[in-house]
Symmetry: C3
Subunit: 227 residues, 3 copies
């Protein structure tokens, strides 16, 4: 997906209306496991799991591997090729104490029109990240740069979520959606089918919420509005 | 415990004065392991481990199990039978990526007079939860509904805390107390004994804090006020 | 290091200008593993990983061990001997559900001129900690006191970070630096070498940030200012 199309993509526009939970509801209906939820990746900037921040965009993936991995180091710096509208997804070997992403990365990504970064590992420079107002979702904070342990072996390649608890993959161009509930991957080939399912469920749930607040039972409201 | 008595229960009223730490101090004196602390369950709504929110009430328990569990699915929706004054405690198999509790559950619980929910697993719709001002304590956030993986097999049955690090059980009617420090279970049969111990220790600790601020050593203050 | 020298120590003064990330950058250049980062220890007070709070000081270490450890219990209470300017570092066996540090400890530490506490385990009384405005970094919250499980066996002895993911030790007098990114140990014998490296990198990074915001690539900015 080119820089221009990422921002004008009607899927990206349509997804602006929905929460990560809405996306997962639709993906569950389409039998996509765990509704696309990517566990362990939570919002750190501009606020810690607070506020209305939401990011939506096609994934631009980066794969860090241990220095002794046989693959060669990627020849250029990944941060200089971020398409406008993209969500950067940085994969890092599990349990790495060092951070794989810092403040200058976000300064550069912001200048390129990137909409946020999702770090499957540690990031650093939290003060700078918040100062930039750049959205960061990550596993945890850190302080040390990664070069003593890791190198980038791939850019825009499929990467697996670094957890034993799920089997999830993010491919370049898959949609990433992040908000206070976490991060969801919407596989690109399911996006067109998923959007109308989101609209339908949100409408039903809004009606249910109104009736439940008035005293209707959940079972009755569900029967009335969800079927 | 019936809906009416939960709210008028003198134990619930007495516990309003104390923090979770005060409850644990008393339970340690009564030799109850870990002072009733239930590790891993922290405040997410109305704020993330901030503010003065505290919940107290008898537990109304819900047990989610894997779909292939031999027990049948509970015949009605648990959320339609929450007693006024109760704290909902939802148990979920460990490491489930899907959420077991969402915004409509809190809308319904609030309408019934429930005082908060403790989720031993993931919950979702954090924006809605905060919009409702309904207290939520949980292991983590999530986005996907649970029906592809789990079913409710029991309501108001004893449930074990889902951790390898402690052996703790919550039984229907045990008191649950939650604040910024986490969640504590006060077994119903220990409650009457525990309350006077809380009062005594809080009084001693307040005196200690005053003298320590003035420069007294901890050892001296402890000797003077705790014995 | 005596109480008086801790506060007047030129190293402590120099470190006030730098973030934990700056310290780690310098330690990586000096080949100190993980740039001194101590994983898992994050800010809880005065705010939860927010604001400008930073602590710097020589470590005053405390070692909790299981009750059945053959070493005798330390004869006096460690909190009554905290030097002015020190950062308290409390080590606790991994996966202990009980807290090893509470509000009265901070009241006493504050009265002695301690600058903050780092708890490699659980702490409690979060409301009191914030009320005191005393900086706390820790693994997690808790509610129960530790005496049923643990005793203090050593004060001002080297302690290992309680994690399988790193091999890090904190020795009495090593510098501890904590901010929103976490906690870093700066071994005392590396401090003098490290400070000038911090200054140099911060200057280069500030220039890079300015040019990157104007549109320069990261690679070009790095070549121009870091070499």
């Amino acid at each position: 997906m080119s820089a221009a199309t990422a921002q004008e993509d009607p899927i990206v526009k349509a997804l602006q209306e929905f929460t990560t939970c809405d996306v997962s509801d639709a993906l569950i209906k389409l039998k996509y496991r765990n509704g696309g939820f990517l566990s362990g990746l939570t919002m750190w900037s501009p606020q810690r799991q607070d506020g209305d921040t939401k990011i939506v965009g096609p994934a631009y993936t980066v794969q860090y591997v241990p220095l002794d991995d046989p693959r060669p180091k990627h020849p250029s710096h990944y941060i200089d090729s971020v398409p406008a509208g993209a969500v950067i997804f940085v994969s890092c070997p599990p349990k790495t104490p060092n951070a794989v992403y810092g403040g200058l990365m976000s300064a550069r990504a912001k200048a390129s029109g990137g909409v946020g970064s999702v770090i499957d590992g540690r990031f650093r420079d939290l003060q700078e990240q918040r100062g930039l107002g750049f959205p960061i979702f990550a596993r945890d904070v850190g302080t040390a740069p990664p070069a003593e342990l890791l190198k980038v072996a791939g850019v825009n390649v499929p990467v697996k979520l670094q957890t034993d608890e799920q089997d999830m993959t993010v491919r370049p161009g898959d949609y990433l959606i992040g908000d206070v509930n976490g991060v969801v991957v919407l596989p690109m080939e399911l996006a067109e089918q998923a959007i109308p399912l989101m609209k339908k469920q949100v409408e039903a749930d809004e009606k249910m919420a109104v009736e439940i607040a008035k005293g209707m039972s959940f079972s009755e409201a569900s029967k009335k509005f969800r079927l």
